[in-house]
Amino acid sequence: MLLNQFLLLAAILFSIGVYGVIVRRNGVLVLMSIELILNSVNINLIACSAPTTASVGRCSPCS
């Protein structure tokens, strides 16, 4: 598996969440969009800590 496919999925989810924050009027729906954003960030962190044994999200362009 490529690292990119997880990062691109996270980018798409992030953009959908930003769209929701901009468009939605109801507060609960804005919070749900923020949850989308937070979860995409979580995917990023886990994907970036995957190839190495270090478990902190050190997202450096490594090997």
């Binding site: 598996m1 490529l2 690292l3 990119n4 496919q5 997880f6 990062l7 691109l8 999925l9 980018a11 798409i12 989810l13 992030f14 953009s15 959908i16 969440g17 930003v18 769209y19 929701g20 901009i22 468009v23 939605r24 009027r25 109801n26 609960v28 729906l29 919070l31 749900m32 969009s33 949850e35 989308l36 979860n39 979580n42 995917i43 886990i46 994907a47 800590s49 995957a50 190839p51 044994t53 270090a54 478990s55 902190v56 362009p61 490594c62 090997s63």
Partner: protein, 192 residues
């Protein structure tokens, strides 16, 4: 004859290798398609309860992604915290506030063009940067035999060592911050 058999030889090599690359990719793309569709439904549906239910699909997909990335502990935590607590919290919040329970026409404001432009721009900029930076970096996983194998527990052990070792002080600060937020919410909610 050899030229005819070359694809099959490659296929045989793939199947005899002890890897889960191909099934993991298939699972990833199916889950990713479901997640993107459900996320779009979350931000476009005109029923708040349906939005909360579509959010379950996205969160479960994120948990499956964690499993694909061999972060079992984080996946289990995702299911417990998000599917078990956050979605229930959203549903209770919808029921306890004056949010419209059925279909409602006034959930969106009139900024949809701006939202679409910002979303597409963000996707393309982040996508370009990610592809430019990481290119074709591969994830290097070793397959392990059985759930209790040594390699399987390695990442959870590393996570625990990291949290309760070098990252102990940020962890404790976060705990204090959450407690402060909890007390603040109680103080704000009491109308004495």
């Amino acid at each position: 004859m050899t030229a005819l058999l070359t694809p099959f030889a490659a296929l045989a090599q793939v199947t005899t290798e002890h890897t889960f690359e191909v099934p993991a990719n298939v699972v990833f793309y199916v889950v990713a398609a479901f997640m993107v569709f459900a996320a779009i439904r979350v931000v476009t549906t005109d029923n708040i309860v349906h939005a909360a239910l579509w959010l379950i699909v996205v969160l479960a997909g994120v948990g499956l992604n964690f499993l694909l990335l061999q972060a079992e502990f984080v996946a289990v935590t995702q299911v417990l915290v998000y599917l078990g607590a956050i979605v229930v919290l959203f549903l209770f919040g919808i029921m306890l506030t004056r949010a419209p329970l059925g279909r409602a026409d006034d959930l969106d404001n009139d900024q949809r063009p701006i939202g679409i432009v910002v979303g597409v721009l963000l996707t393309s900029v982040i996508g370009f940067a990610v592809i430019r930076t990481f290119g074709s970096d591969k994830l290097t996983f070793e397959a392990y035999a059985g759930p209790m194998a040594e390699a399987g527990n390695q990442r959870t052990t590393a996570l625990a060592n990291e949290i309760f070792g070098p990252q102990l002080i940020p962890f404790e600060v976060l705990s204090v911050l959450l407690t402060a937020a909890l007390i603040g919410a109680i103080v704000l909610a009491r109308r004495d």
